[in-house]
Every structure is written in C-alpha cells, then in structure tokens.
Symmetry: C5
Subunit: 363 residues, 5 copies
C-alpha cells in the first residue's frame, strides 16, 4: 500500500459483506507465492522449498524449530495448507490474506497471530507499507510477507551465523521479526525529518501551492504512520499485559524493548506532526506578508501620485481667469509644490516603517 496524495487508502482486498467468516480473496495483481521452510536444531540448519501440503506436514512434524516463510499472496492454496496442516484458525488466515489489516495481536490458544506493517520510504517521498503476518505455533513460526522485501535478511544472517537466536524458541523468533519491523521505522523517520527540513526552506522562500501540496502529503504520511505504529504499540502492550503470558516470561523483556522502540517512533512522529502544524502557520504568515507587501506598494504609489495628478489637473482647467497661469514662474512653482508634497509623503512612509528593509517586506 502506498501512501501519498489522496489515494483511496483503505480499499483492502476483502470478500463482499455477508460472506462466510474466514473467507478470503486472491486478487489478480497479487505477487506470486513462494514458500520455504528453514529448520534447525543445535547442529544443523536446513532450507527447504515447499511444494505441497505433505512436504509442509513432514517438515513441521520433524523435531527442532521451523520457520515457514511465505512471500506473496497470489496463491490461495498455500494459505489453505497453513489453515489445514498447521491448524491456524480460518479467521487468522483470512486476516493474513485480506491485506491490509491493522497491526494487531490475536490470541488463538497456541497459534497466536501477530500482524505488523513494514514501512519503506519511496523515492517520490511517499511511503510503502507491506503487511507482515506472523503466526507463532509451538515449535514453528509462519511469516507471511505481502510482497517480497529484504526485511528478514538480517535474521537470515543471524541464523546462519549461529547467533543466540538459534538457541531460543519460537516466541523469540517471533519477537525478532517484530523487532525488525519496528526498527525499520527509524530510517523512514529520518528521511521524513530531512524532507521536513527541505520543506521548511521551500515554504520560507517560495510559499506557493506546490509547497502546500507537499506539506499536506507529508502530513498524510505522518498520519498513517502514526496510526499504524500506534496500533503496533497496542499489540505489543497487549502481549506485555497478556494474562497467562502468551509468549512466556523469558522473552517478555525483549517484547518490552520492542514496545519501548515503538514509543520512540511514536514520539518522533508526534514531534514531526507538531512541526507540520508550525509550518502551516509559517505558510499562512508568508502568504499574508505577500499580500501586505502588494498592498503597501499600491498604497505608496497611489498615495504619492493621486495628489500630484490632482495638482496638474487644476492647471489644466480652462477658466478665463486663473491668475497663476499667467505668472512667469507659475509652472516651476507647481513643480516645487509637487516635489515638496512627494518628499513629505515619502518621509511619512519611512517614519511608519513602510519603506526599506523592515521584516515585513523582506521575502
């Protein structure tokens, strides 16, 4: 899902109202599905491409922890395997398939569902959200990515490197995935910070329609990120508060750390939202200054020349008896009067601060 402009943000793929609960739709443009299993114990780490429900059944039945990694939602039968072979609740499978869903945690006994949204900044200043669905079973974890992305690369590394992650259970693996999603917001936040700095400069210098449109686009991106991260924080809070400790006490401290990171991201987003409010003020004030400047120019010109035009109008009258017209130096006297009037007005304008370099007229 891309966020930028007023795109129809919420057209999630979903069955028609009144459909059977647990139903899902596979849209034509969904990414083709690939599925593989990473299985390990203390010594070995095997990667299998999975081509049938039976293969999936065999691998999860073997001892050791298994990570079933699904990428792309184009193939409904794979989702049916997860439902039928792994015993995931149909409603959970529907939430995996009908993207986008709001980030959430749902407790289905020992098949807990965690939905998160991975954020990535695009080149045109938009942000792309990719749904990451995680089901943590007793000795396996299913991860489903809406579209291919390199989110889980570092986890693959750590598994290959035989890091502590390999000596922990499925709950820790689920945590590691969530942590990767949440930490992935930090670079996005930094890009938005740079974007706001650019924008501030542009609004100061050229406060036009274009700057306003960009400002609104950033506000919408921040709004969506805020809502998404807020939900993610809620889901993590639910895990922390959860009765019966869904993921066991020993990984609780790690989930608390992820929760803390989500709060940091929220703080940053909220600060940026306040900054956009300030930029809107600056924008309006710039527009207002420009109008003031235009009006001041008009007023100065008009106020100086309208009296002068009146004066020359007087001596354009055709009365038979206008003594000044006959005077030898009349014409030059009129010039003198006009120069005096102009200088008086200019002096008055300067005293009021309407001329020159005061703040208001600088651009």
């Amino acid at each position: 899902m891309r966020i930028a402009g007023t795109a129809n943000l919420f057209s999630s793929r979903r069955p028609p109202p009144g459909a059977r609960p647990g139903e899902f739709v596979v849209p034509a443009d969904a990414h083709p599905t690939t599925i593989r299993a990473i299985a390990w114990d203390h010594e070995r780490l095997d990667i299998h491409e999975i081509r049938s429900a039976e293969e999936l059944q065999a691998i999860t039945a073997a001892p050791g922890l298994t990570w079933i990694e699904v990428v792309g939602l184009g193939d409904g039968s794979v989702l049916n395997w997860i439902r039928d072979v792994l015993g995931v609740h149909p409603l959970a499978v529907a939430d995996i398939a009908n993207v986008p869903q709001r980030p959430k945690f749902e407790d289905y006994g020992d098949r807990d569902l965690l939905i998160a949204q991975h954020a990535r900044i695009l080149e045109d200043e938009g942000v792309e959200l990719t749904q990451v669905s995680i089901v943590a079973g007793p000795d396996w974890v299913v991860s489903v990515l809406e579209d291919p992305c390199d989110l889980f690369e570092p986890l693959h590394e750590r598994l290959r490197a035989n890091a502590p992650i390999r000596r922990n259970g499925s709950a820790f693996l689920a945590y590691a995935m969530v942590d990767a999603v949440i930490d992935g917001y930090f670079p996005v936040i930094e890009s938005l910070g740079e974007l706001l700095e650019d924008l501030e400069e542009e609004i100061m210098d050229r406060p036009g329609r274009d700057a306003l449109t960009r400002l609104h686009a950033v506000r919408r991106v921040l709004l969506t990120l805020h809502r998404t991260m807020w939900r993610q924080r809620d889901a993590l809070g639910q895990i922390l508060r959860g009765d019966g400790n869904p993921f066991g006490e020993e990984v609780r401290v790690y989930f608390r750390d992820a929760h803390d990171h989500s709060l940091q991201v929220l703080d940053a987003i909220e600060s940026y939202r306040e900054i956009t409010v300030g930029l809107m003020d600056v924008y309006l004030s710039s527009i207002s200054n420009r109008l003031n400047e235009v009006m001041k120019t008009l007023t100065i010109m008009a106020t100086i020349f309208i009296p002068l035009t009146f004066i020359v109008g007087i001596y354009g009258m055709n009365f038979d008896h206008m003594p000044e017209l006959r005077w030898r130096w009349g014409y030059f006297a009129v010039w003198g009067v006009m120069i005096a009037v102009s200088l008086t007005l200019l002096w008055w304008f300067r005293r009021r601060g309407w001329l020159g370099n005061d703040d208001d007229t600088k651009e």
Copy 2:
C-alpha cells in the same frame, strides 16, 4: 434516516416526555410490517409467513433454530407479539420501535438486544442509515429491519446452501447479522473515498461556495458514520468483555473479528476526517491566493498607469510659460520617458516575482 445537509438529524420517533417506560409510537409513514420465520434443523429448512401470535408461538415452540425476520415498523401488534409471545422486555421492544436508537448491546438475561445501523450510500452523496435490531433468544433470533433492504440476502444464501451457519446456534446467527452490517460499511467508505478525491480536484480548480457546501456535507456524513460505528464498536467490545460471556466462548472469536472490522472502519473514517480538515486548508489557501492575484493585478495596472497619467497631466496644464511645450520633439520625448518608466516598473515587478508563472498566480 438520511444524512446530508443540516436535516434535523435526531428527531427520533418517540413518545412524549413522562410517558410510561416501554411505550412506543407507530408513525404514519412507517413501512408496513411483514414477518416470516425461517426454521431449520440438520435436514430441513422451512420458511413460514406469520399472520398471528399463535403461529409465532407454534413455530418457536418447535425444536430447531428459528429466525424470525421482521421488516418494517408500521404494525405495532407484531411488536406486541414479540413482547408477549417471546418474552422480550418492554424496554427492548420500545428501543426496536422508536427508531433511530444508538447502536448498543443490552443484556436482558437470555433475551439479549443488539441494535446496529446499516449504512448505504445514496446517489446524491448522502448516506442512509437503517436500524437493524436483533434479539437473540435461546433457540430463536428476531431481526427487525426498519425498512426493507437486501442486507440479509447473503445470509439467506448461506442458509439455503447448508453452510456452517446452519450447524451453529443462535449466537452465531446473531453474529452473522452483525458482521453483515459492519462489513456493509466498507463499500460506503470506498464511495466516500472516491467522493473526496473528486472534491479535492474541484477545490483545487474551482474553490467556490459549492465546493465548500459539498465538503461540509461530507464532513457531516463522516461525523455521523464515525459516531455510529464508534457505538457499534462499543457494543461489540461490551460483548467481548461481558461477564458471564453472554454468547458463549465458542462464538467469542467471531465477535472479536467483527470488533476488529469495526476498528478498521473507524480507522478509515478518521483518516477521511483528517483529509477533510486538510481540504479545508486547501480551500482557504485557494481563496487567499485568488485575493492575492486580484490585488496583484490591480496593483500592477495602477502602479504603471498612475505615474503615466500624472506625466500626461503635466503637459495638459495651461501655463503660459512651459518651455517643453514649445520644443520640437517634446511630445516624442514625453513618450520616451513614459516607455522608460513602464519598463522600469515591469522589470521591478518581474524581479519581485509578481509577473508570470510563479506558483501564486497559477490557478
């Protein structure tokens, strides 16, 4: 109830203040009432038109689950059958009859009342809400629709198709109805999204009174939908939290899914409300740009021609002694001066960015 414009939104049909609790009114313009019962067990599915309290009594007394489907509120005696034959509390019957009520869940022992509002988008961009009242009894469910609509068509299909819905109890049937109501908001939300896109374009291009009126109408629709869905979410949350599990543990997970959908709808509505706030900003900024543009035009014209008019005024004076008037090339010299003044002013305007294609003057 239609929402659009400032129609008197809240004139619910209700008895006068101080009336006996449980009293209800049947307004003259209410839709005539039809009532039928759909009864089934593992093998059969019968549909009966019901014409008397005795028929209703006989059908609900028979074994198996019964769905009593009432459409229209024009006939008070049908509501009295529900009160007297099925033992529904008079206050619940009054809430069914005195539409519109806020969506809510009320626990009356084993006759739980659920009130929801079905939303439908109209052709003129308004939204129509139809009250759906559900009473879930031990082995029957009463549904009352304020006006006829095709909300329950998919449920009829699923019942005829012998889907799982036929093998579940009254709580699941009540859930299926609520789910149909809530999922019915998604198409409404999508239509509003498209409407907002149109509106954004209109406000950018022709920011007039008409666009503002449409924007306000959309805001009111969003406000009402938000309030309604918020209440619906509350009612579902009450069922989820409910002490003693009003609907049993096994359908709880389905109600949680409906609760989750209501949150998705709320998210969408809130985003759209923020977008309307942004559009208001764009509108005000467009109006302001137009004023700036008008003032700039005036200023440019006046600032160029007022000095020129002054100059020609000078040589319209009738002094006897004005040496320039006698010069051979005086007239042409004046033209030269005037052209020079104009060009200087034009250059100055261009340097300040008041001419040409800067952002401010584009429409």
Copy 3:
C-alpha cells in the same frame, strides 16, 4: 436559570465563603413554596396539602408510598421540615436550596439525593433550566422544583390512572421523575435543530454581525446543555455502577434505559456543536467571499478605466507638435483604440473567471 448571551451564568445562591456547612440562603425573589403529599397503596390515592411539620410526620408515618412534592424555594422552614422530620442530611438540604447545583447523585445511606436540571426552550431562543431535586427514602420520595412547571403532569396522570407506577416502590418513582427530566430534553434538542437550520440559511444569505451573535448564543446554549446532560449521565452511571445497588436490581434496567436516553441526548448535542463549528467556517468563508467580490469589482473598474484615462490624458497635452491632433480621424481612431483596449481587458477577465456567474461572486 436562563442561558443566552453572556449572562453571569454561575451566580448560584449560596452563603458566604466560610459559612457553616449545610447552611442555605432563601433569596428574596424565590418562588413561594407549596408543599403537598400524594400517598397511595393498592386501593387509594390521597392528596394532602401540608401546612406543618406535624402533618408531614403523620403522613410519612402512615403505611404505603408517599410522594412529597415541594414547589418553590421561598420558604426555608419547609426545607427544615425535610431535614428534621425526614432525616435528610443537612448538606443534601443545602444542595436542594442553593440552586443551581450541578446534576449529581449522592448516596446518604437510605436517603439518596438526586439532582437534575429540567430544560425548557424559551421564545427568544434561550433555554431555561429548572433544578429538580429528588430524595428517595425508604417509603417516600421528596421532589423539590425550583420553580413551578408542568414537568410532573404526566406522572400525576399515570398515578391517577392506576398505571404500573403505583405498584412499584420509591426507587421506581424516583426513576420515573428522572426519566421525565431527561426525556424533556428531546423537544429542546428538536427546537435547537430547527434554529440551526434557520441560522444556516441566514448565514448563507446575510452573513452579518447579527448572525454571528445568534450563532454564539446557540453555541453557549449547547455548551451549557452538554455540560448539564453530561453530569446527568454521570449521575445515572454512578447509580448503575453503584456498589450495593442503591436502588435495587429490579429498577436497574429502567435506570439503564434513562442512561441510554441521556447518551442519545448527548449525541445530538455533540452533533449540533460540530454543526455550529461548520457554520462558523461558512460564516468566515462568506465574509471572505464578500471581500473578494468587492476587490474584484474595484480591480475590474480600475483596470479598465485607468489605461483609458491615460490615453485621453495624452491627447489633452498642449504640445505644439502633436501630429495626431491634426489628423482628420484622430479622435475616432482614439475611440477605436480605447474600445479595443476595453474589450481585450474584458476578454482577459472573463478567461480568468472574474466575470459572470462563477461561484465566488454569487451571493
């Protein structure tokens, strides 16, 4: 208490700071007090005017339920009877006397105090609040109305008609009073809805100071009604949540219904408050449109005639050598030029949408 304009809303009658708790004041302009008792059991219903503490003592000592109806607060001794004969706490009596108090529920053992505010719309668009204080004792209920009004007329009817109200206890009677107060807000809300429709039309057509003043008056009324109803809802919520069920389980469902009605009133008031915010936007936009229109008129006139005036100024110059002045068709050529300039400018204005029927210039 009348609400409209900036009247000093909160000058409640109260003793000076530091006075003994439970003290109350009887202001000179308070309505004279009348007190009567309505006593009934299964068969009879008697109405007694009460003239002394002893009579009150005798009536409440008799078996059956008694409603002691006090109207007007002008006579402090009647309040003392309530304190001394019926054993109502002095603080409760002070709250009854020192009107207006905020709506509230206070549990004084088996002498529970309920304070509500009855709302009535006035002819000049203001709203009048009348304090209704209810003390529910074991087999009597005291109601105190600040001023005479017909709030309890329907209850008298129902009592005379031997309705179920006569077969219930003091808690149900207290409920019936509160219900009458809350349902009395619905007609007020409807009147305000009509008022807002009028106001919207006025603001569209004649957005002046007068419309703004009326809008602010409505906002203040809505603000006060919201605050009052919010407190009333709180008091009802307190009764519903109340530990030890102050009023017994069997009337709880009725108080829940009253609570639900208070929520409906609050929904309506909140919607109206949002509508007033929208009207403020429309008002500001109308003012802004009017300024735009004025400026556009000025700009069009000035922009057309300033260049023309310059042209005629040229040929008003008195140079000896101005060839055009001698041409045979010079005068008519100038007219041609001037008409061409005017038409060009008019065409340019029309192309920019400044002329004619675009939205901005329509009123």
Copy 4:
C-alpha cells in the same frame, strides 16, 4: 503570586538543584511570621501568642484540640519548630516554605499535608493566589498562610460562637479550612463574569489592541485558576478515594461536599474559557468587518469617479476635429451622461447591498 500579563509565573522560591531534600529558603521579601495557638475543649477557648518551641510543645501536649495558626513565611525557625516539635516530615515543611506549590494532598502517616491556594481578585483585574498549607495531626491542626488575609475570619467567628465546629475533631477543622478556600473562589468567578461582560461590550464597540490585551490577560487568569482548582479537586478526590480513609468516615461526606464545590468552580471556569474563545472569534470578525468596510468605501468612490474622470478626460483632448465640442448643448449632455452613469452604479451597489444599513457596515 499575582497573575496578570506574562509575569514570570513560576519562579517559586526554592533551593538550588541538587540541594538536600527538605531544604527550604526564606526570601528577604517574605512577610514576617506570627504564630498563635487557639486551643479549646467543651468549655473553654484560649488564644496564645507563641514565642518559643517550648511554648508550642506545652500547648500541643495539653488535652483538647489546638489550632496552630502561622501567618507569613519570613522566619525559618518557626518552620523548624513545626518540624521538630510536631514531628512534621521535612519534605512537608519544605513544601510549606517553598511557595508556591501546586495544591495537593500528601499522606505522611498521621501528619497529613494539604496545600491549597486561596484566590482573591485585585482591583486591576488580576488575581492573587495565597498559599494555604494545612497539616492535620492527631489533636492539632497547623495552618500556614503565605501572607496575611482574612480567609479564616469566619472560622474564628464560628469557633467563638461555639458552633458545631468546636465539637468535631482535627479532620473536621481541616475540612472547614479547605472549604473556606474553595468557597472563596465563587466571588472571584463572579467578578470574572462581570469582567467578561464588560470585555464583550468593548470588543463589539472598539475592537482594538487594548481589548485584545485585556482578553489575553483574562484568559491567562482563567488558565491559572483552572489549573489550580483542578489540582485542588484532585487532592480532594484523593482524600475521598484514599485507602484507609485518612480523615475517618464521618467527615468524608463533608469532604465530598467540598469536592462537589470544586467541580462547580471548575464548571464555571470552563464555561468562561469557552466564552473567551467566542470573544476571540468576535474580535477577529470585527477586525475583518472593518477591513471590509474600508475596502467597500474605497471601491464605491473609485468605481463611481474613475469612469467620470475618464469621460471628462475625453473632452479635455485637443483634437482639431471633435464634433461634440462644437455642439451647443454638448457640455450639458456630458453632465447628463455622467449623472446617468453615477445613478446606474449607485443602483447597482444598492442592489448588491453595499450601501446603507446592512449588517456588515454597522459598527
């Protein structure tokens, strides 16, 4: 502490950061300290000036209730007596000395600290807050006033008059003090109400810089009062909720009454704050109306006279061949044309409502 303008509101007297907890400072401008004890039992009531720690020791050791009344904070040794002789916690003493503190309730075993702020309206529309610190011990109460004021006069009266206050314990005495502080806000609120009425009139009539400054000053006063009373309400709510009933059950009902009064004060303050928001709208709208009026005047004058000036300019041209100039009635015909043009424009202005007594131009 005075509130008005942007005075540095929060420069409380406090020791430097990092100082020992419980330290306090005695500023040079603090009011000199006086201390006296009022001791009573059923029969007698004695007032003692206290000059040493030993006297204090002796008086509190005697049977009966003692009120130790301290006024002014200029003498640190008196505060040390309270700490050392009465066993008040050093942190509590520091809060008494380092004024202003936020109103609060702190439970230190049987030496509970209550801090409140007494409000008094000043003649220049500011408000002065005086800290009132109360420590309720087992059979004594210490009250410390930051500055002398007549807050406790009515309590002295009631004690002298042998009112019920003399037959209650230290908790009731502490309540009576808090009640005096809270009821002291009612006259302040009333003064502010009158001030707002004045201000509204001024803003309607003369919406200048001065009115805006006064409006902002009132907003700041309301803001501070709101914050202060909010804290006071919190402190009272803490006493009401308090585990173990810090002050015993029998005075709980009195503290509930004080809590209710604090809610009434808060309601009033919040209403006034909403009214100031409305006044800001009125102010902006007045300013805007004035600009509209100025622009309309300009537009009417310019639009009438610019065409006329053009017309007279035409016949000021010096073409040899201008037939109209030779006509006998040419001059008068031009006058006719000019009058016709003026009347047409005036008619057009009137039709648009720009002339005369419509709302916009009224001041």
Copy 5:
C-alpha cells in the same frame, strides 16, 4: 542533543534494523569515557579511577556503598564491563549506549534502570539535553552521563560533607540523582519565561518574520521539554505504583517528592505553551492591524483626491459652450467647492474613527 530550529531531532545512535537485541554502536564523535568509583561506609569515602574490569570487580565486591560514575560514551569496553562484571541486562546496556532514549524506568530484578534527560539552556536560546542513565544495584549505583556536565557537583559536595545521603542505601542515592535532574529544569523554565517576555514585547512592536521564527523555536523547545518531562513523570509514577516497591518503602516518600516536582515543571511548561498560543494570536492580529492601516491610508487618500481630480477634469474640457469657464470668479468658486468636499469627507472619516489615535492605527 540540541533542540532549536528543525534539527533532525530523533537521529539516535542505533544499530541497523534487524540487529541482535542488546547491540549498541559507539559513534566516532562520542565523548571519551572516564570511569571512577566513589565508595564509602560510615567512616571513609574513597575515590578510585578505574582502569580495568578487575578493578571494578574488586571495588564492588568490597563492603559499603559504591557509586560508579561513567562520563562519556566513547569507549564500548567500559559498557561491556558494566554488562559482564555488574550483571546488567544487555538490553539495559544498549539503552545506556544508544542515546538518546526516552526517559523511563525498567525493572530488571535488582538491577533497575532509570533513564532521565538533563536539560540546560544554551546562549542562543536553544536547550541541550544530556542523557543520564542510572542503574541501581543492591549495593552500588552506576550513573552514566552522555557528556561531561556539572549535574552531580552538589551530590559530590553532600557526600564529602557527610550529609544524610551517606547514611542511606543505593535507592536513596538513585533518588538524589533523579532529583538533581528534575530540579535542574527549574532554571531552564525560568530562562524560557524571560525569553517569552522579551518575545511578547518584540511581537507587539515589530511583528515580523524574525519574531515568528523565534516564537516557533520556543514552541519546539517547549514541546520537547514537555514530552521529556512527561516521560520522566511517567517513570517516577511507575516507581511509586510499582508492585513490590522496587526501591523500598522508606525512600518512596522521596520519590513522591520528585514526582511532585516533575508535575510542577509540567505545569509551568503547559502554561508557557498556552502563552505561546496567545502570542501567535497577538502576532496575527498585529499583521492584520497593519494591513488595515495600509488600506485605510489608501482609502482616505484616494477617496479625497479622486473626486477632486474629477472636478478639475470637468473644467479641463474644451467645449465651446461652458458658461462657468467665463465667470469672473469661476476658478475661485471651484476651489471653494473642492475645499468643501474635502472637509466633508474628512469629517465623515473622523466620525467613523478612521483618523487619529484610535486603537487600530496605533502601532
């Protein structure tokens, strides 16, 4: 971290997304690390520079309380000592290293982590935040300062002076550190108060772009301080509410005092934020007044001279038959008319309050 302008506020030093939990980065520009231990018991107080993990081990193993004071984050191995020798959780160490973190309290058994932000005002009106991390172990406390500063000077003094702080445990020492941080906000708040007073004067006198920029900078500083202190208050509240009293009952009253100080700081910050909102209003109103003033000047000049210019235009016409031109006193009569017109207009302007010293035109 400096706050002022739109600096990229949230670029905390952190490892890339997906890194192992507990990892931390040591940036090149971090301050070099110094570490020393202050150990004491009833009699002695020793200060040791620590150069190896073994020294740290030895000192903390000795009896008595030890304060391990780390300054600067340039040396990762010191942080590893803390993790490995003192048994601090790797996630806690990562929070110490990856500055800035939000202020928080995290319970890791008997190694509780407290993160706070020390605020210091800079000369250019910005504010600098320095992270202070505190880990309270059983008989030692680790403090880590991001950069050197004199925050803990007073504590050193008190330790040297054998103040009560030396006779309390590690919890009291941790409290003393937090108290120093929170009390350090008071001088910052006072400086901001003075800054706001300056700013108010500037906005009244010279409401230009520069004042607006400074106002926005102050708003951002206040926003960040508010957020930081809010989190600090939350962390203290968590300690106060904490199940199992993380720091023991006897220091709870001190933490409550620190919590109370944090509320005072928050009150001050919130008041200042409201004041900045008021200043924004004053700014906009000043800008608006200036535009009004400009327009009024233009209108007065134009309205007076445009009719006069028309009049003199009339008598510049060249009609053969214009009787007035031949009159003996025609010219002087025209002057009389013009003076009369001017005076009439001036009188009308004065009556409307457009001339002279009314509020609007004063600067």
